[in-house]
């Protein structure tokens, strides 16, 4: 039912009282029990060293912490800090137009919001961070999400909702200033390009030399096209039926991949990274200019349902399989900073490697995009903003567990760049044994055979996660299907990433057209083909180039680019949190400013330290310019430094490292500009007590709806009364 303006009774609707007063003895008992479970799990994790620890301790430590944080901290933010006001109409109610602005059921909007924020990021970061042990990642994912990530998502959603769904860039420009706004616009665009390039790199690394993977992922394109045509011409609107057909075809494509060798397709589907890069760039361009109904929309349906399905399956699988952690709690790489997966010590590099899942700036773009225009009641932003991010954090914890339950020798054989393993089983075994871990060639060969896939130096996180998921699912649901589950997991990740690449390219295209449109209005018309094609090509060229840089880097693309990606994402979070602090001060909420200011301070400390080290460190493993210098000096002396194999690769290293260093420095500078601009406003706001903001004046709400996942008895009663009264009014009005 849509609530149209004509059917509304006049006057504000009475809102159910949210204040339940004191907690009942039963609810006190329940929360004490949850707290006890959490305390026990955390104690076990903190005290266990060397003995075998079940992964379920991590799972339940996470779940109980989330429950407590949601029940108490998010409620505190909702009531005391933001003072969410259900008597106030949301933009969805005031501006309802049946398309952008639309009152949406809270649980449905939660699903949409979650599908938009959760992708491959929370799956990849924790896998890479597992090189430091399971404990640092676990602590950061859980503490980070509670005090930083979920707070950012919820507050940005709130601020945008109070401003009719304005975007992050718009809010920065209007509330901080033109300088900050322009810097934010450039930063958002550049950061998006890096994110797309790194995500594409993950797919390339997972599919290179993997005919099975190429076959099944390749088939997702015709499957999506078929679904698009089916929905457009044969059965318009039957989304569930179409998605069901799509999922069946998808599973067949995964099974079929196992027969590519038998069918004699093995050779032609064994593609190099370079070929895959060209294919992906070409695909990205075509996908972004095709009508959305052909490819993007149907694949989005597939990826949304796969996402929800796999997350549920993974949670069930973990409980059934009860795997034991093979990883150490904290490894020496955390303190020494010489890990092969990525360089640098726990501080600051853990906090930029695990971005999504703990704190992700990209979410601020979603929370200030479609979601705020669809919220029915203000109080619902707690479950959508805070709750949605907790759910993403849970995905990250599952990924960390999956990476920590596989044999750690195997973990490093998969994740060390080809430059150090030589890409061979013997080379990998030698390298891993050199790290002080035991791994035999037989073990590695057996693992390779079990998933029917080469595993040595399959960097990027996706193969590791797929191997972990395959291990867990084989244990939980019976053996014999390890290879199927491995490719199922690869499919699951590639599907997200391809959707993100399509949608990201298109969003980038709109941003570019909008910006150029300020100078040349015609270019801003999104339906004008030449402008659309030209800007799509520009966006694809940008991320395609960075992808190529990553693919051809002799030092290993993930090793080189992932820190750039992580820092970029966290710098975006710094921009979002800076906006939150600015608006708190402008509203005069000085008393509560620590809510966004503490995470902002922590985020700035970690990302600026990481940026500083990436730019200025004289350790060539960490500093991009030190690295370029080292290879330049060697090249000029006529030497070739491993892992480069010839002088031209030496040139590549010098060039790539310089590009990465320049990008890194520019991102950090842009954020410093925004924070400096904001600091001026902070001082002015503190002196004045408060400053006017662009918040839209309150309009009384005529809607009644529950606030949380489960409606309380009182809410149900209030909704029923309101609906009865509404029907009466409509009846008498006609």
């Amino acid at each position: 039912m849509s609530t149209s303006t004509t059917s509304r009774p006049s006057g504000p609707a009475p809102q159910p009282s949210r204040d339940t007063g004191r907690m009942t003895p039963r609810s006190i008992a329940v929360w004490v029990a949850v707290a006890l479970v959490g305390a026990v799990c955390w104690t076990v994790l903190a005290l266990s060293r060397g003995e075998s620890v079940s992964a379920l301790w991590i799972l339940f430590a996470a779940l109980s912490s989330y429950l407590i944080a949601y029940r108490f901290y998010s409620r505190f933010i909702a009531r005391r800090v933001l003072r969410l006001d259900d008597t106030r109409a949301t933009p969805a109610e005031r501006l309802e137009n049946g398309s952008d602005f639309e009152v949406t059921d809270r649980r449905v909007l939660f699903g949409h919001h979650f599908a938009a924020i959760a992708g491959a990021g929370p799956l990849v970061g924790p896998v890479l961070a597992a090189q430091m042990g399971y404990l640092p990642g676990t602590v950061w994912i859980i503490v980070g999400v509670i005090f930083a990530g979920a707070v950012q998502d919820m507050v940005v959603l709130f601020l945008s909702m109070r401003r009719d769904g304005k975007s992050l860039g718009q809010m920065v420009r209007e509330e901080i200033g033109v300088v900050g706004g322009t810097a934010a616009l450039i930063a958002v665009f550049a950061i998006m390009i890096i994110i797309l390039a790194v995500l594409a790199l993950v797919v390339v690394n997972a599919l290179a030399e993997s005919p099975w993977g190429v076959f099944s992922i390749g088939l997702t394109i015709p499957i999506a096209l078929f679904m698009g045509v089916y929905l457009r011409f044969l059965r318009p609107g039957r989304v569930l039926e179409t998605t069901a057909i799509g999922v069946v075809l998808l599973l067949l494509a995964i099974v079929g991949g196992g027969y590519v060798e038998t069918w004699g397709l093995g050779e032609s589907l064994t593609l190099s990274k370079e070929t895959l890069t060209v294919a992906l760039v070409g695909y990205g361009f075509v996908a972004s200019i095709l009508p959305v109904w052909m490819l993007l929309t149907p694949r989005d349906y597939l990826s949304t349902f796969m996402k929800i399905g796999v997350i549920l399956l993974l949670a069930v699988g973990l409980v059934l399989a009860r795997p034991v952690l093979q990883n150490d709690a904290v490894t020496s790489f955390a303190t020494d900073g010489d890990g092969p997966v990525f360089a640098g010590q726990l501080f600051p590099f853990l906090f930029i490697t695990i971005a999504c899942g703990a704190l992700s700036g990209f979410h601020a773009l979603i929370a200030s995009g479609t979601t705020p225009k669809m919220v029915a009641k203000e109080s619902q932003i707690r479950m959508i903003g805070y709750g949605g991010m907790l759910m993403e954090s849970f995905v990250a914890i599952s990924a960390l567990i999956a990476a920590s339950v596989i044999d750690q020798g195997l973990y490093f054989a998969i994740n060390a760049p080809a430059g150090v393993t030589g890409g061979t089983i013997d080379g990998a075994v030698q390298f891993v044994n050199g790290l002080g871990m035991t791994l035999t060639p037989d073990q590695l060969q057996a693992a390779t055979d079990s998933v029917e896939e080469e595993l040595v130096s399959r960097t990027g996180g996706a193969p590791t996660l797929a191997f972990g998921i395959s291990t867990i699912f084989s244990d939980a649901f019976g053996g014999g299907l390890a290879a199927f589950w491995y490719h199922f997991a690869i499919m699951f990740e590639a599907l997200f990433i391809l959707t993100a690449v399509d949608a990201g390219t298109r969003v980038g295209r709109f941003m570019l057209q909008d910006t150029v449109g300020n100078v040349w209005p015609r270019f801003g018309d999104t339906s004008w083909k030449p402008a659309a094609w030209l800007s799509s090509a520009a966006v694809v060229a940008c991320w395609g180039y960075m992808l190529y840089v990553g693919v051809t880097d002799p030092l290993g693309g993930i090793n080189q680019l992932f820190p750039l990606f992580g820092i970029a994402n966290q710098l975006l979070a710094a921009i979002a949190l800076t906006l939150c602090v600015t608006l708190f001060l402008k509203h005069g909420w000085t008393r509560w400013v620590w809510v966004p200011a503490v995470p902002l301070a922590w985020d700035l400390v970690t990302t600026m330290t990481a940026s500083y080290q990436k730019v200025f460190s004289d350790n060539p493993a960490i500093g991009y310019f030190a690295q370029a210098d080292r290879y330049r000096t060697a090249r000029d002396a006529g030497e070739v430094l491993a892992p480069a194999a010839d002088p031209s690769q030496m040139d590549t290293v010098v060039f790539n490292s310089t590009v990465n260093g320049v990008l890194q420095a520019s991102f950090a500078l842009l954020v410093i500009v925004i924070v400096a601009n904001a600091a001026l406003i902070w001082v002015r706001a503190l002196r004045a007590g408060s400053l006017p903001t662009t918040e839209v004046p309150a309009v009384p709400s005529q809607l009644v709806a529950p606030a949380d996942f489960v409606a309380t008895a009182e809410e149900k009663r209030a909704v029923a009364e309101w609906e009865a009264q509404r029907t009466e009014t409509v009846g008498s009005g006609r």
Binding site: D105, A116, G369, F510, A705
Partner: protein, 73 residues
């Protein structure tokens, strides 16, 4: 789509049936399939003639064309 909670699809008791109806409702709403029913209900309420399903879905496709939402990492 209703802001007021899902309509009781099945009035008879039976936890399994109610759960299944709930899952079906959620899937339809999440995928947007339920939008057509909402549209028909509104047309009936307002006494207007609904457009064909094909035209309705075309209209939604056109809207999506210009309002792509970014997918996060």
């Amino acid at each position: 789509m209703s802001a007021t909670g899902r309509p009781a699809a099945d009035q008879r008791p039976g936890a399994v049936r109610r759960a299944l109806a709930g899952v079906r409702w959620y899937a339809r709403e999440l995928s947007g399939e339920g939008r057509w029913d909402a549209y028909l209900a509104r047309c009936e309420r307002e006494g207007t003639e609904p457009m064909s399903r094909r035209a309705f879905e075309r209209h939604r496709d056109d809207h999506r064309e210009s309002s792509t939402q970014g997918r996060c990492c």
